[in-house]
Symmetry: C2
Subunit: 400 residues, 2 copies
């Protein structure tokens, strides 16, 4: 018996709303809010059609902290799932503190004018949430999110210490468009075009964008060229698992996708600084987002699978061991259930599972937390029953 | 002793201002006008530094016909050289008619919302200019422009009838940028991404964009892959030379340039229909223009040459003959003289030469004309002495 408020009505918000509605025994009241109420209404109508559950909707600018605080006080949710834009994380955390509401998100805060992916801004809220007796759960999508839980699960059950972590993320789906990003294009392009970065022997090693790459074989998919990029969960994982000697993140990209990204940079459309056009400030990458296909609309006819997992090596009983834990998700199945594609699905479902963990008292505590700081077992059990089953392999040829 | 008004302060306007100032014996008063007076002032300062000639400047919106008419009446030029945007051609022609001023441009009118290159709109002004006793000279840049004069020159001196025309346009320059267009990116991208089209046996034949291509050898440059595209002078040339059995236009593009164009289309940034963004209408390709390098700023460090010419076959004395007439232009030399690169230079210089032809009474007559309708000889003589010498080859291996 809990009240849930969802902020954000993109592809991930769609999945969160559908999946939360399937837990109406736990989430007895659901409010979906975003800047454009009409988007919320359309999602609510689809949710009611699929599940019979009615969810409320509201229009609110997440950056208007007083307005958001008022809405939070009015609806008084037990927890907010924030799947709005990463710039808005701090505003939403401020409003949660002002209204006394617990918080969960799927992507870390980044300033509008810097393409950085760092937890420092949100970690700085630790004392505020402690003092308020509120819980904030950061990065509870798939990656970050399930990848951290997978790592915690491996460390808890199979290793005395984990030393090498490779998170491998493959989208072998085909959306049939010449070019589209699978989530918010602004964040996607920022993330993918930045310099590479990984952890080794106690420090960060930097690379040129896409400098390091190799084929990696994914279950049920086969070998795909995979590129070392920086991904935000590395920051919290190396902090929470200090035995890690090396931690890397790999993502697959097709040649055409990389060509499109290169051109987008060359022509200046990846710029995150505003230009003045027709007398107003416009950030090129944000304008590009408005022109590109909406990732929330990519689901139809999207075929193929995603495969995301963790390959880990470490010590167990004095011996070096290998372990691989992963999930494969079908774009078609995700679309049938929620009307959204697999990348939105794998991000939205773990957010709902994280919120369930909170309201069931399994993940709770005053302060600001990354997911690997909690018990992985009940989360993974719930995740599997909510459409994202996971698989594991011990030892084998896991070296990258 | 004549008064010249130039409208447009981009790269071509820069060249026109510099070159007109070198004819201060003919153009005793010069006014440079554009929407942004500051751009005109900067060009005027550079012209004065290089040539010692002072030119006046004014700010005017070329689409505000009453304001432009008032400015024309106030300055009362003998002729206007229009090197503003092609959408603005009809507005400027209207203002010229209202103020009783003769007119010359370098690119034909096209509506904002259709990527077409057709003379029909401007040819429809024929009677108005006739009735007003005014001359309008259309398309007097290099291509269209010199290419039409080259064709007229060949027809006048070397052929009884011309049957096959291939206009070949190569830019073998290197501006050192990852991607930039050599003239207004909006017009350039519209032109290059449209379907191909050529004239054969009395009708237009359409092709997919870049469907037909072959290597063509350019003087002093060598072989370069050349793509059949539609170019506006074909429309007037097949009308004015009805003996033409085939007329085609070829332009060189590098693979990287074509890749960039393909991606620009794929991501929706070549769209010419407006989207609503931040509450205002924005046309993606116009926004892209604001983000891309200004072609007027490309001159510095631009190396290499352009080569544009006409390969013609036809009958002379009952025999089939071949003829090739061309100009090569060095980007570096153009920059040294005017501070603009070769593509701006080859467009701007013929406009000044056309205006000289008019005020000297060599190209004149009430109505609307394309350049090939006038005597080519004095034009080419003047063109050669103004920095664009031309060369010719008879027979030889000219088959395309």
């Amino acid at each position: 018996m809990a009240r849930l408020m969802i902020i954000g009505a993109g592809g991930v918000g769609t999945v969160v709303a559908h999946k939360a509605a399937r837990h109406s025994g736990n989430f007895t009241e659901i409010l979906l809010a975003s800047r454009t109420k009409e988007r919320c209404d359309a999602i609510a109508a689809a949710v009611e059609e699929k599940t019979g559950v009615r969810i409320a909707t509201a229009g609110v600018d997440a950056e208007d902290v007083p307005a958001l605080t008022a809405l939070l006080k009015d609806f008084s949710p037990d927890i907010v799932i924030n799947v709005a834009l990463p710039y808005q994380d701090l505003c939403i955390m401020d409003a949660c503190l002002a209204a006394g509401v617990n918080y969960l998100d799927t992507a870390n805060y980044e300033p509008r004018d810097e393409a950085k992916f760092e937890y420092k801004w949100q970690w700085a809220y630790k004392k505020k949430f402690e003092d308020a007796g509120l819980t904030a759960i950061l990065g509870c999508g798939f990656d970050p999110g399930v990848t951290g839980v997978f790592t915690a699960y491996a460390a808890k059950h199979y290793f005395d210490e984990i030393n090498y972590l490779d998170i491998i993320d493959c989208n072998a789906g085909d959306h049939g468009k010449a070019f589209a990003t699978n989530f918010n294009p602004e964040i996607n392009i920022r993330e993918v075009t930045q310099k590479g970065k990984y952890w080794e022997n106690g420090k960060w090693v930097y690379t040129e964008p896409h400098e390091i790459h190799q084929p990696v074989t994914y279950p049920n998919i086969g070998p795909k060229e995979s590129y070392l990029i920086y991904h935000e969960e590395l920051e919290s994982l190396v902090k929470n698992f200090p035995s890690l000697k090396r931690a890397r993140f790999w993502m697959t990209f097709g040649q055409e996708y990389l060509t499109h990204l290169r051109v987008i940079q060359n022509i200046g459309m990846a710029r995150i600084d505003p230009i003045i056009y027709k007398g107003i400030e416009i950030v090129p990458i944000q304008f590009l987002k408005a022109v590109l296909p909406d990732p929330g609309e990519l689901g139809e006819n999207y075929t193929g699978e995603t495969s995301i997992g963790c390959r880990i090596r470490g010590l167990a009983g004095g011996k070096e061991r290998g372990y691989y834990i992963w999930n494969n998700c079908s774009h078609e199945d995700a679309y049938k259930e929620t009307g959204a594609q697999g990348v939105s699905y794998t991000t939205g479902v773990p957010a709902v599972v994280g919120a369930l963990m909170f309201i069931q008292g399994k993940w709770k505590g005053p302060g600001v937390y990354n997911v690997e700081e909690f018990d992985p077992d009940p989360f993974l059990e719930q995740l599997a029953s909510d459409g994202l089953p996971w698989h594991e392999e011990h030892d084998g040829d896991l070296e990258l």
